[in-house]
């Protein structure tokens, strides 16, 4: 069974790139354009990993992480933040909300895959 990943980012081109890179490595990928959409999808099925941008309309990444962690099925699911910000505040915020870790944008697709592989074991 291929591992499934929920990729959340408000930028269409970014989503396309994430999906392309991940699907190419054999992962099943579903996309969402903002936190609310992602939450709606997450409520209907489970994923092995959630990759989420931070700055998004409607519901941002931090809030999404918080809400996901409140769902019983997502208590331990690895959630990685996608962030360009090197600032520690956002990372801290994410961590406090329950993020597993982060991937920095712009991402090198090979690095992305390595990190994903690390997390999924």
């Amino acid at each position: 069974m291929p591992r499934s990943i929920l990729a959340v980012d408000d930028s269409t081109s970014m989503r396309q790139m994430l999906a392309f890179s991940l699907k190419g490595a054999g992962y099943e990928v579903e996309e969402a354009a903002d936190g609310q959409q992602a939450l709606n999808i997450a409520k209907t099925r489970s994923f092995d990993l959630v990759l989420s941008d931070v700055n998004m309309p409607v519901m941002d990444g931090i809030e999404l992480i918080r809400q996901l962690r409140a769902l019983p099925t997502y208590k331990y699911t690895p959630i990685l933040m996608l962030t360009t910000e090197a600032g520690t505040e956002k990372k801290m915020e994410g961590k406090n909300a329950g993020a597993t870790g982060w991937i920095v944008k712009p991402f090198n697709p090979d690095q992305l895959l390595n990190t994903v592989k690390r997390v999924l074991g």
């Binding site: 081109s13 392309f20 208590k75 982060w102």
Partner: protein, 720 residues
């Protein structure tokens, strides 16, 4: 394995174009104070997305430039910085710069950096003026990121996860697996933290470990930084110490290193995490310190950056393709479906027809007419786009020009969703700009004058678009000074266009502004006095089959009204008969039609014929003569005169008869033949024959060239 993402570059560039539009409109909204809370966040996100994508495609100039914008916007959205006019202006200029940079990226040429650097310096000036301590701290932290990484035979890692570490989805086993991949791992677990089984909560972590990680043959020496990276996500959720492995066996006592090393660890590892797979950050810190770094990065051959940004706007509008909503396509498909049904019904009727079915036939044909008309309308609608894409340039234009002229101006736009033909829209852009500029320049007064006149300081320009009949109406109004009637009249008299005795009604006086060469601008402002006058505006609009009028009230304001047909390819025409020929005169050119009274025909200087219409003389055009066809009648009093408006003048066209008025589809003569003077195109009439559509200005020009009819013929007609 290397994944190539370059195929997504185009998508990113398009997305960035849209992002820039969001940026610009958001900034303008913030400036005018009409923005709600969400706007600044949307603006930030737009810049943020562009930065992120730019980094992915190694568009370093864009990434570093956008980073500065983003920093400024970040402060604004967090409330750490007030949204000042100065900041907004710099940001608006940044949007322009970004457009140029994106164009360069699109065309794969190195960008022209001089303006980029100029604006970037301004951005940074604004940033620094706001006393930004945080960024300086970050810089210092990063410059201290050189840590000595002593090589050792291995490392002793003491790892004690806090109770709730598992809540972050991090997994101890996973981390140990990663460690094991680095060398030889020995693991000693401390179970002392475990509670009684009944009290064990599976979601909590109670254990701690002391790990010995020794370098082995294959892997070689292990970098401390690599180990730290494995733990970087959980550094706040655990107690961690990484010490070089010495030859002495470590104490297996359960005492863990507690708080003392940790605080020292954390800042170190933080800076190190900043170093690793985060290439842009080093670039970012450079951008913040020394603007001159940027030119070093992009060695420039000066590219035609200026040109490109002007072509960018064109790209959006003048492409040979059009986006059509699927709803329009679905409607079209339905229409065609109905047409097919009607056709097969008629076909069946034709198989086996008898005169008693004549009523059915009539009904079928009426149905066919309905289907065809609906289909025609549906198809026309495909080429229609909302006028918003024409309107969208105006907020920025009004903002910039208002500032330049030190006038306070508010722009209101209505009816942006009103649709019009794509080609018409592309061509109406420039005339619209000219009219708006005119309002900005000559209409709206400066704030002091307005106040003195009892008006509010801020002038308003309103754009309004709506459908009326088969036309689209676009109104451009301002609440400014209005047109100066007397000044206009005097100027006209001065130029010899009218005389004092003419006693023109006011509306005719105001209409004079559309006359070629007529400009009341005292000094040529670079804004609208460039010689592209109102006459060109009217000419361009007429070429589209429309017209423009002006209404004004001195002291109150002015309104320009543009009227355009909804599509270029269809024309409302008046069919006229001359001999055996049928011609079509565009309805929009016809002023009136009347019966000839032969007494009113006069000849000037023996050659030019004129017709006395009320108290004016208009040139008489004998169409049969100009086109060299046989007239239907030689009795002038049986003819009709169609009074039309051509280039700057009226004329009367002599025809035998007026036929119907109908909408005709314009077909080109030039496709298979060539342009003929006096003829603007052709159409196919209901009976399948071709009728020529007359071009008024060409016709009138021709009429002047044609040798007049011999005098004797005149006499024959007059006596006829």
């Amino acid at each position: 394995m290397s994944i190539d993402l370059s195929q997504f570059k185009q998508s990113f560039l398009e997305e960035s174009d849209e992002g820039l539009d969001v940026l610009e409109s958001g900034l303008l909204a913030l400036d005018s104070g009409t923005a709600d809370d969400e706007v600044i966040h949307a603006v930030f996100r737009a810049a943020h997305s562009i930065k992120g994508g730019a980094g992915t495609f190694s568009l370093t100039e864009i990434a570093s430039f956008t980073h500065v914008m983003e920093t400024l916007l970040d402060e604004m959205r967090d409330g750490r910085r007030a949204i000042s006019k100065e900041a907004i202006n710099v940001l608006l200029n940044s949007v322009d710069v970004l457009r140029e940079l994106l164009d360069a990226a699109r065309d794969d040429v190195p960008p022209e950096m001089s303006r980029v650097n100029e604006i970037q310096a301004k951005l940074e000036a604004v940033l620094n003026a706001g006393n930004n301590q945080a960024t300086e701290d970050k810089q210092e932290a990063e410059t201290e990121s050189e840590q000595q990484e002593p090589e050792a035979d291995g490392w002793v890692i003491k790892f004690h996860p806090h109770e709730h570490m598992l809540r972050t989805g991090n997994d101890t086993v996973r981390m140990f697996k990663e460690l094991a991949a680095l060398g030889d791992l020995e693991n000693r677990v401390n179970l002392s933290g475990l509670p009684e089984f009944e009290h064990m909560d599976p979601e909590l972590s109670y254990l701690s470990w002391i790990l010995h990680l020794k370098k082995n043959e294959q892997q070689g020496a292990i970098d401390k930084a690599v180990i730290e990276e494995i733990f970087e996500w959980v550094e706040d959720d655990c107690d961690l110490s990484i010490e070089p492995l010495t030859s002495e066996p470590d104490d297996t006592s359960t005492s863990e290193q507690n708080d003392s090393p940790q605080p020292a660890e954390i800042p170190v590892s933080e800076t190190i995490t900043a170093a690793d797979n985060v290439i842009p950050i080093t670039g970012e810190s450079d951008a913040q310190t020394v603007p001159s770094k940027v030119p070093a990065a992009g060695v420039q051959q000066p590219a035609e950056a200026q040109q490109k940004s002007s072509t960018r706007k064109k790209k959006a509008t003048e492409t040979g393709s059009i986006r059509v909503g699927t709803d329009k396509i679905d409607t079209l498909i339905n229409m065609v479906g109905e047409l097919v049904i009607t056709q097969s019904m008629l076909s069946q009727m034709g198989e086996d027809f008898s005169m008693d079915k004549i009523e059915d036939l009539r009904e079928g044909l009426a149905q066919l007419e309905r289907n065809t008309r609906e289909l025609q309308e549906s198809v026309m609608r495909i080429r229609m786009l909302p006028i918003s894409s024409s309107f969208q340039r105006f907020p920025r234009l009004v903002h910039d020009l208002g500032q330049k002229m030190n006038k306070k101006i508010e722009l209101k736009m209505f009816g942006e969703q009103t649709e019009l033909d794509k080609t018409v829209m592309e061509k109406i852009g420039d005339p619209l700009v000219h009219l708006v500029r005119n309002s900005l320049d000559h209409g709206i007064e400066d704030p002091q004058t307005r106040l003195a006149a009892g008006k509010s300081e801020t002038g308003t320009i309103t754009l309004n678009a709506y459908h009326q009949g088969g036309f689209i109406i676009i109104e451009i109004s301002d609440d400014g000074a209005g047109l100066p009637r007397d000044k206009l009249l005097n100027k006209a008299i001065e130029k010899g266009l009218v005389t004092e005795q003419d006693n023109l009604p006011d509306e005719k006086i105001y209409d004079l502004i559309f006359h070629p060469g007529f400009s009341t601008v005292d000094q040529i402002s670079d804004i609208s006095g460039r010689g592209v006058g109102m006459d060109v505006v009217r000419k361009n609009i007429k070429e589209l089959g429309g017209n423009v009028d002006v209404r004004t009230e001195e002291g109150r304001g002015t309104t320009f009204t543009i009227r355009l047909p909804l599509t270029l390819a269809i024309l409302d025409g008046q069919l006229v008969k001359v001999g055996n020929e049928t011609y079509i005169i565009p309805l929009v050119s016809i002023i009136e039609s009347l019966e000839i009274e032969t007494d009113n025909i006069n000849t000037i200087a023996g050659t030019t014929e004129v017709y006395k219409m009320r108290d004016k003389y208009i040139p008489l055009v004998r169409l049969y003569e100009v086109f060299d066809v046989q007239p239907g009648t030689h009795r002038l009093q049986d003819c009709l005169l169609v009074v039309v408006e051509g280039d700057g003048g009226k004329a009367g066209i002599l025809v035998d008869d007026l036929l119907s008025q109908q909408q005709v589809v314009i077909k080109s003569l030039e496709t298979n033949y060539k342009r003929i003077q006096g003829v603007s195109g052709a159409t196919i009439l209901g009976d399948g024959t071709v009728a020529l559509i007359l071009d008024m200005s060409g016709l009138l020009t021709l009429a002047k060239e044609i040798e007049p009819v011999q005098n004797y013929q005149n006499q024959t007609y007059a006596n006829g």
